[in-house]
């Protein structure tokens, strides 16, 4: 059985390939028949008419051939419709052969029904709704039976005015009356289904958001135009009771040829588009092979698909969470006027593309994108995941620092508003006790009270320094510049402030800068031979640079390193960096650089 199948399929392939020259040849043959007896139909009347007939039929057959390579049924339906366009030539009296003449008698009105079928079934080749199937069934019944087979049974050419015609092989009984009324009913029925199918085509064109609409649009539009023209022909023929060949119908026929030609051109156009997309895909494969850079996939896809705003998002574990290549959270679905297409592999969404609507309508292109980007998507997704984790970590560090600062601030307020107030109250109470007449009379008691008050004042002073060290009120109320000024009043070595940003910065940034300055100056003051310290805080765009420089001698030691670790954590939590520059025996600069908002 094994070898038989390839043999069969080779035969099938040969037959399939042979169909197409045969179909084209069929058109040529039909034209020759038309030329042999020019009066009977339009195709033979002039060279132009002949070319129009051949061009229209071949255009649809050609479109069928192109479609057939991907979708067999749809292609064959189109090809059949193209061939049916030539059928009216076959009931030509000059055809000679009776069989051919009889074939023409039965099929001459088939073309509109077959075009309607091919158009409604495009591009899948199948009629998708019951309404479509009903309309096409009615069309075939009308064209093949009411206008074709049934009248042929009662048509005797010599008795009904065609002495030159070959014999009608199907003739059962010559009944001119029945022949005529069948034709009239066929035309009436045709008026109904043609308008219905044309309306179906127009409705499908106008329906928003349908997938593949763009690909099917030229076929639907051409088909609707063709059916409306055929409808006009039928309407024109109704009073006569027969489809005829007068001058007006000749023009309608030419227009029908143009409509069919448009179907062919439309399919050719979508073929060109697809080719473009394919060459874009080829370029994509080459580019991805060359440079797998971070964020690069977006660039490459944007370039090769021709959408500069294209974005790539990667789902992280939880499908609700999407990040871009840098690990930053994004929400592609919420952007207005953008479409989102998932790239799925084995049922799992590996990435989402946010793009111009319509760009990725063809599932074939999406498949090619998935295939071409497989490696790059995997790489970038892993990288995005790591970067997202890094960002989360940084955010959590920043939260820890912020919480710590809030706690310090609360503590400072509690000390000021609670403990310190109470001590002041106590001091007042002592004073009131001291001025009591009883106390004034006793010098010992007065001395004790005075001593207690003195200690109380010292405690108040110490508490004040403690609170200030925990979180200076100036920092919270008036910002970095005020806090550093206050620090300069406190410090035990001279602080020279070169520059300070005068506008407020985000709280965590101000706190990081302040504690860096306070801690390092506090430490530098303890060094032997400590000279003055220079403080320079500058804003460069959205970065803040904090420089604390000691000009005197003194080498940074372990103690400084230990103090800087905590500060480096604080600065790092904000996405900044801390470094120490030391010139041996000379200047030491502690420099922090961190983002400070926009």
């Amino acid at each position: 059985m094994g070898p038989a199948v390839p043999g069969f399929s080779r035969l099938a392939r040969t037959v399939a390939v042979a169909i197409w020259p045969a179909a084209l040849g069929f058109g040529l043959l039909s034209l020759l028949i038309a030329r042999s007896h020019p009066g009977a139909t339009f195709g033979g009347t002039s060279l132009m008419a002949g070319l129009a007939e051949l061009g229209a039929g071949w255009a649809v057959i050609g479109a069928g051939f192109y479609v057939w390579r991907r979708r067999k049924r749809a292609g064959l339906l189109l090809a059949a419709a193209g061939m049916a366009w030539f059928f009216p030539e076959w009931d030509n009296p000059g055809i000679g052969a009776a069989a051919a003449f009889t074939f023409g008698l039965v099929t001459y009105a088939l073309a509109p029904a077959m075009v309607a079928h091919a158009v409604l079934a495009y591009p899948s080749g199948r009629l998708s709704s019951p309404l479509d199937r009903l309309a096409v069934t009615v069309a075939y019944a009308d064209a093949a039976l009411v206008l074709g087979l049934l009248p042929a049974l009662f048509f005797s050419p010599p008795e009904q005015g065609c002495s030159l015609c070959p014999p009608n092989l199907l003739l059962a009984d010559s009944q001119p009356g029945l022949f005529e009324s069948l034709n009239r009913w066929g035309i009436r029925l045709g008026l109904v289904w043609m308008i219905a199918i044309a309306a179906l085509c127009v409705w499908r064109l106008a329906r928003p958001g349908a997938p593949l609409r763009r690909a099917a649009a030229p076929v639907l539009a051409g088909g609707a135009a063709y059916l409306l023209l055929a409808w006009s022909d039928f309407a024109h023929s109704l009073p006569r009771g027969l489809l005829g060949t007068d001058q007006f119908e000749y023009r309608l026929w030419l227009a029908q040829a143009a409509a069919l030609g448009a179907i062919g051109l439309g399919v050719a156009w979508s073929w060109l588009l697809a080719r473009q997309a394919r060459s874009a895909m080829a370029a994509l494969v080459v580019e991805l092979g060359q440079s797998p850079a971070a964020g690069g996939l977006r660039e490459v896809l944007a370039r090769s698909l021709g959408d500069p705003d294209l974005e790539v998002a990667y789902p992280l574990g939880d499908p609700e969470r999407l990040v871009d290549a840098t690990g930053t959270a994004v929400e592609p679905a919420t952007r207005e006027g953008r479409a989102v297409t998932p790239l799925t592999r084995q049922g799992e969404t590996v990435a989402l593309l946010s793009h111009r609507p319509g760009l990725l309508e063809d599932p074939a292109i999406v498949d090619e994108v998935i295939a071409a980007t497989r490696l790059a998507v995997d790489n970038e997704r892993l990288q995005a995941e790591v970067l997202a984790q890094l960002q989360e970590l940084r955010a959590s560090r920043a939260r820890i620092v912020t919480t710590g600062d809030a706690e310090r601030r609360r503590l400072e307020r509690d000390l000021h508003d609670g403990a310190q107030q109470r001590l002041v109250g106590l001091s007042l109470a002592l004073r009131l006790a001291r001025v009591q007449p009883g106390a004034r009379a006793d010098p010992n008691l007065t001395a004790v009270l005075d001593q207690a008050d003195e200690r109380l004042r010292a405690a108040i002073g110490e508490l004040r320094e403690l609170a200030h060290g925990i979180y200076p009120a100036a920092l919270a109320d008036d910002g970095l510049a005020a806090a550093v000024e206050a620090l300069a009043e406190h410090a035990s070595i001279p602080l020279t402030i070169i520059q300070m940003p005068q506008q407020r910065l985000p709280d965590p940034v101000e706190a990081a800068a302040y504690f860096l300055i306070a801690e390092t100056t506090g430490y530098l003051a303890t060094l032997p031979a400590a000279g003055g310290v220079t403080i320079d805080v500058r804003r460069h765009g959205n970065r803040l640079a904090v420089d604390v420089t000691q000009n005197g001698a003194g080498n940074p030691d372990r103690e400084l390193e230990a103090r800087l670790t905590g500060l480096a954590d604080r600065v790092g939590a904000l996405g900044g960096q801390l470094q120490v520059e030391h010139v041996a025996g000379g200047r030491t600069t502690i420099r922090a650089e961190m983002p400070c908002g926009s």
């Binding site: 007042l428 004073r431 108040i460 200030h468």
Partner: protein
């Protein structure tokens, strides 16, 4: 002498009032917040309002804002702000806008009835008052070598009293010197620091403070 007292801590408010009354000062009203204070000031027109810097609702600088308001709308009423903070910036903020008849003392001075009375009297005379602890810290503050190092000890004493807001007459009394000697000291100090020896008392205080803070 009539004063009003504003402090949200009842214990301190009442204690201060009793101490002052014992010392012969009439307490015309007591307030727990800035709004009540402004009401009382408008009704009672006291000589001086004693105001805690931290008051409801935010407990930051409501007292300072109320003091500025009183100086602007009731120029005949002097203000004495009591504060927990040693930093000179609140004091400077207060003095800069209205250097006349204002004072800034540390909170714990309320129990030092002598200092409190002295401050109230000076403020009611239109002088300005700055806490000696704050001034001392400003003068002692470490700095690079400069004109301050040129001053003699006596001159430093005089400088501190100028910064505390004392008039030449007051300085003479405290140091037990003749007014002429004090005048000479002041002239030398101002020359050494490179400041204009302005006869305007308030401008002199501000100039000295600005020098010390820089």
């Amino acid at each position: 002498m009539r004063v009003v007292i504003a402090d949200d801590a009842m214990l301190i408010r009442e204690g201060t009032a009793r101490l002052l009354e014992d010392a012969g000062v009439e307490v015309a009203g007591k307030a727990g917040d800035a709004q009540k204070l402004l009401q009382i000031v408008a009704q009672e027109h006291p000589d001086v309002a004693i105001i805690d810097i931290k008051m409801p609702p935010t407990h930051t600088d409501e007292g300072l804002a109320a003091a500025e308001h009183i100086r602007s709308f009731h120029p005949e009423v002097g203000v004495l702000v009591l504060s927990q903070y040693l930093e000179s910036r609140y004091a400077t903020r207060l003095l800069q806008h209205h250097p006349e008849a204002v004072g800034y003392l540390l909170k714990e001075r309320v129990s030092d009835i002598g200092a409190l009375k002295d401050a109230i009297w000076r403020i009611s005379e239109g002088e300005c008052v700055l806490d000696p602890t704050i001034v001392a810290r400003l003068i002692k503050r470490p700095r690079q070598r400069g004109p301050l190092d040129e001053l003699t000890d006596r001159e430093r004493e005089v400088l501190a009293l100028i910064a505390e807001g004392r008039s030449n007459h007051g300085i003479a009394e405290i140091l037990v010197l003749s007014p002429k000697t004090v005048e000479a000291h002041v002239g030398r100090i101002m020359a050494k620091l490179g400041l204009d020896d302005t006869p305007d008392y308030h401008r002199r205080v501000l100039a000295v403070l600005a020098f010390l803070r820089s």
